[in-house]
């Protein structure tokens, strides 16, 4: 079965990983801009990173038949210095105009500070002003519930937000209902220790249904698995779910969400 990996940080993965994903049936990936494991010392570091996501990584995945789409944004961990963040945000329109860029992401909160919130407001303003898709990172561990609620509060207060075009990622058992009840797309992240396991993701598919649900590996430079989607597929089969439901989760839902981007030009294999 073909699948789409909607959230993976290819820049942090080896070419062997890309090859393994292609062999497993991956036909397209989404790569949000994120924290590379260190704070960048100047705005040029971001410029080069955005070029990497839009020029170099698409070539690496194309060598194995995987189509690469990127998201442009400033992650919450580097959003605390608001004047510096503004310099980075000023770079984004140039890259958002590139053909395989899906929207603004991943943006969000980390420690839920006032400065993170100030930067986030400016990123949302940029996205809404350009009618871009939005991808939100919700915080880790003990901050997740608080940060998710803050993001929902922020979006609820803005009448311009089209909830069909917003993906709130890294949901877990205690936040998925909040996100889905308000009409957003919810993302589940398959991580070995933090976030959710394949079995828990299947639990949430069973409890909440497949509508507006995306499941991803979010594989990056930390403990993570670029083939985690295949583990989800195996867990769903083990639990007796039909192939049509599995295909919906790992292929049709990502396509449905991504197709809302006016620049999305992809002919999926059947």
């Amino acid at each position: 079965m073909y699948f789409i990996e909607p959230h993976i940080h290819i820049a942090s993965r080896t070419t062997d990983d890309i090859q393994a994903m292609a062999r497993a049936g991956c036909v397209a990936v989404g790569e949000p801009a994120f924290w590379m494991g260190y704070d960048r010392s100047n705005v040029g570091g971001f410029y080069d990173y955005f070029r990497q996501l839009t020029e170099w990584e698409p070539k690496r995945t194309a060598n194995y038949g995987i189509r690469h789409f990127a998201w442009m944004g400033l992650n919450a961990k580097e959003a605390e210095n608001v004047p510096f963040a503004r310099e980075v945000i000023a770079l984004l329109p140039e890259f958002l105009d590139k053909p395989d860029v899906l929207g603004v992401g991943e943006i969000g909160l980390h420690k839920c500070t006032k400065n993170e919130l100030a930067t986030l407001r400016e990123l949302i303003e940029l996205a809404l002003g350009r009618d871009e898709l939005l991808l939100f990172h919700t915080p880790h561990l003990e901050h997740k519930l608080m940060g998710t609620r803050m993001i929902l509060d922020l979006l609820r207060a803005d009448s311009r937000v089209n909830r069909d075009r917003v993906w709130i990622d890294h949901c877990e058992e205690h936040t998925i209902r909040l996100v889905r009840d308000e009409g957003y797309w919810a993302g589940l992240t398959l991580y070995p220790t933090t976030k959710v396991t394949p079995e828990r993701a299947v639990d949430m598919i069973e409890i909440y249904g497949p509508e507006r649900l995306l499941v991803t590996s979010s594989a990056d430079w930390g403990p993570s698995d670029p083939l985690a989607i295949t583990a989800l597929m195996a867990a769903m089969r083990r639990r007796g779910h039909e192939e049509s439901l599995i295909r919906r989760i790992v292929y049709e839902n990502p396509l449905t969400f991504m197709r809302q981007c006016r620049r999305f030009d992809f002919t999926p294999p059947q």
Binding site: E142, L145, R149, L154, E172, H174, I207, R239, G240, H241
Partner: protein, 85 residues
Amino acid sequence: MSTSSSASEMLDSEFLGMRCRLIDLAASLDRIDRSDGAPPADPRMAQIRRGLEILAGDAPDRAVRVQLEFSLPYDSNLSPLAPRP
């Protein structure tokens, strides 16, 4: 949406994994006990104990309640909707 499995079939499928994870958790607690010094008066240990109490109960939605146990409370003063000073 639910699976077609009965509760007995689900228990058959889950039992060894549950047993393994319980023993892992017990061994982690033993490891902390065997370490130098007194058992830490650390709020994280109290969280673990409260999480175990949730598992021992019969009420549903245990995963949600354990998650909430490990979450910071939402401070409405931090809400983006709170009046700005």
